[in-house]
Symmetry: C2
Subunit: 266 residues, 2 copies
DNA sequence: CGGCTATTTGAGAGAAATCAAGGATAGTGG
DNA sequence: CCACTATCCTTGATTTCTCTCAAATAGCCG
C-alpha cells in the first residue's frame, strides 16, 4: 500500500558495493574479535539504495552513533530463527541467504539479499528465518528501538522501509509460483534471469551472472536437489543458451531464449 | 520490524463473521447492481480484527464516509494482477483467494484471506495478484488516498497495517517451505492444521474444519494436482487421521497425529 | 429426476529423487 | 610451487512418486 516509490534504483552502484569488501572500516581493538565497528555512514557504499538514504545530513551523525557495521564470513549466521530480534540489518556488501529448516534438516532458502536490502523482519519480537552469509558480507546493524524512533521522526524512512517490505512480499509471491508450478528448466532459467537483472554485467551479446552461492543453496532455493540443478544447467549449456566458465559464474548467451524458457514457452 | 502487536486475537469473533453474510447492509437502488453500499462500520462484524480497530470513535464516522462495502459472489474477482490499485480492501466475511497465473494457465494460489485480513498490496501502483471470492464474501473498500491520510493521522493504524503485512510475509515464507520441501501428505496435513487453528471448531475429541474452496483451489495452493489432493485425503481417511463428512468439511480425528504428519514425522 | 460439475479412482508414463561413483576445484601446508 | 585433502560439482543407473490420461461416481441445482 502507500506511495509507490520507484524502486528501480537498485541496479546502480552495484560495482561500488563489490569494492566495499576491500576497504572495510578500520576496526578498533575492543571489538576486533567480533568484527564489529562504528558505522561509516558518511562513506557507505550502499547508502543510496538503503533505507538510510531517507536520512538527511543533520540526522546522519546521530544515526551513525547508534549503528554498527559487522563483517560476516561465509557460512556464519547473522541471526537465527526464533532468536530474539534486537536488530534490523541493512546489507552493505556481499550476500545473505535467508532460510528456514524443517525438523529433519530439509531446508528452504527463501531469499538472497544483497547491498541495500533489509533483513531482520520479525513478528512478536523473534526473527522468522536464519540469515547466513553466502560470501564475505558486511551488514549494518540497527537496534530496533533506535529504528522505531527514526521511523517516527522521518516519514521518508518509514516509506522506504514499507517499500522494502512490499518488495519482499512480491519476491516471495514469485518464489511461490516458481516452487509450486514451474519445472526445473523454468526454475533455473527464472533464477538466472532474475540474477542477471539484479546484478548481471552485460557485454555486446552476452550477460555475465556471478553466483556467489553454491549449487546446494540454489537447490534449496528452487526446491530441487543438487543433482537436478547440475543436470539442468548442463542441459541449458548443451542447448547453447548459456556457458559455464566457472562454478561461480554463468554466461547467458541468448537472453531472450532464456527468458522464454523461464516463462515455460518451449 | 516495529512493535510486536499481539496478533492472536484472530481466533475470536469468527462465528459472528459467519452471520454477517445473512445480515448484509441494506443496498440503495443507485448502487444496487454493483452490490456496493455505504460501509456500516458501526456494526461491522470484523471490526475487532481489522485495521479499523485502530480508529477511535470520533474519527470513525469520517472514515465510514470514505469507505464502501462490497458483496462479491463466488468466482467474481475483487481485483486483478496488473490492474491499477486504487483501493485497499479489508475482508469483512467470507473468503478471498489470491492467485497468480503463468501465461499457459498454470496457477499458484498464494493465500486464502478471511475476515479481518487486508488485501490489495501494491507496488508501483499496481496489484500483484488476482483476488477472487471463494464463496459469498463481503469486502470493505478503502481508497488508497484516504488510507494514506488516516495512516499519517493515526499511528496505531499504521502499526496495525504493518503488523498485517509482516504476518503476510511470514505466511508466504511458510508457504515457500511447504511448496519447496514438503511431501503431499505433509502439505495436506499442514493445510488442515493451519485451517483448524484459524477457524476450526473443536468438540470433545475432534475438530471440524470447513473448506469453503474446492479441491482445485487446494491443489493450486499446495502445488499439487487435484488428483493428488484427492488421493492424499483418501489416504489420511483410510489411516484414520480424519473423516470427510462432505466435500466441504473435514473432521480431524487425531490432531496430534496430523500435526506430526505435517512436520514430516512418520 | 436429469444434467452439470466436482470429486474419486484406476492404469500407465514420465520426471525428479535417490543411490553411487567419478572428476574438478579450492584451500592447506610442506 | 606443488602435492594433498576436503569439498563441491557432475554424471550414471535405478527407483519411486507424482502427473497425466481416462473413466466412473457422487454431489448439487434447477
Amino acid at each position: 500500500m502507500l506511495g509507490s516509490l520507484d524502486t528501480r534504483i537498485s541496479s546502480l552502484a552495484k560495482s561500488e558495493a563489490e569494492d566495499a569488501r576491500l576497504e572495510l572500516p578500520v576496526t578498533n581493538p575492543e571489538t576486533e574479535r567480533k568484527n564489529i565497528t562504528r558505522a561509516p555512514c558518511a562513506t557507505c557504499s550502499a547508502h543510496n539504495e538503503a533505507i538510510c538514504s531517507a536520512i538527511n545530513d543533520c540526522d546522519m551523525d546521530d544515526f551513525a552513533r547508534n549503528v554498527r557495521t559487522r563483517l560476516v564470513k561465509p557460512g556464519q549466521s547473522v541471526y537465527r530463527e526464533f532468536e530474539e530480534a534486537k536488530f534490523v540489518f541493512s546489507v552493505v556488501s556481499g550476500e545473505i541467504r535467508l532460510a528456514n529448516l524443517l525438523d529433519d534438516g530439509r531446508r528452504q532458502v527463501t531469499a538472497f539479499k544483497t547491498a541495500g536490502e533489509v533483513i531482520g523482519a520479525q513478528q512478536n519480537g523473534y526473527y522468522q528465518s536464519d540469515a547466513e552469509a553466502v560470501c564475505d558480507t558486511v551488514v549494518c546493524q540497527i537496534p530496533v528501538k533506535a529504528l522505531e524512533t527514526y521511523l517516527k521522526k522521518m516519514p521518508a524512512m518509514q516509506t522506504a522501509l514499507t517499500e522494502k517490505v512490499l518488495e519482499e512480499l512480491q519476491e516471495l509471491r514469485h518464489l511461490a509460483i516458481l516452487l509450486g508450478r514451474k519445472t526445473p528448466v523454468e526454475k533455473i532459467a527464472t533464477f538466472l534471469i532474475d540474477r542477471a537483472e539484479k546484478s548481471g554485467s552485460e557485454t555486446e551479446n552476452e550477460i555475465k551472472v556471478s553466483l556467489t552461492m553454491g549449487r546446494n543453496d540454489i537447490a534449496d532455493f528452487l526446491g530441487l536437489t543438487i543433482e537436478t540443478v547440475s543436470r539442468t544447467i548442463t542441459k541449458l549449456k548443451k542447448m547453447g543458451v548459456l556457458e559455464v566458465p566457472s562454478n561461480h559464474s554463468i554466461l547467458i548467451k541468448d537472453r531472450v531464449w532464456l527468458e522464454n524458457l523461464a516463462e515455460g514457452e518451449k
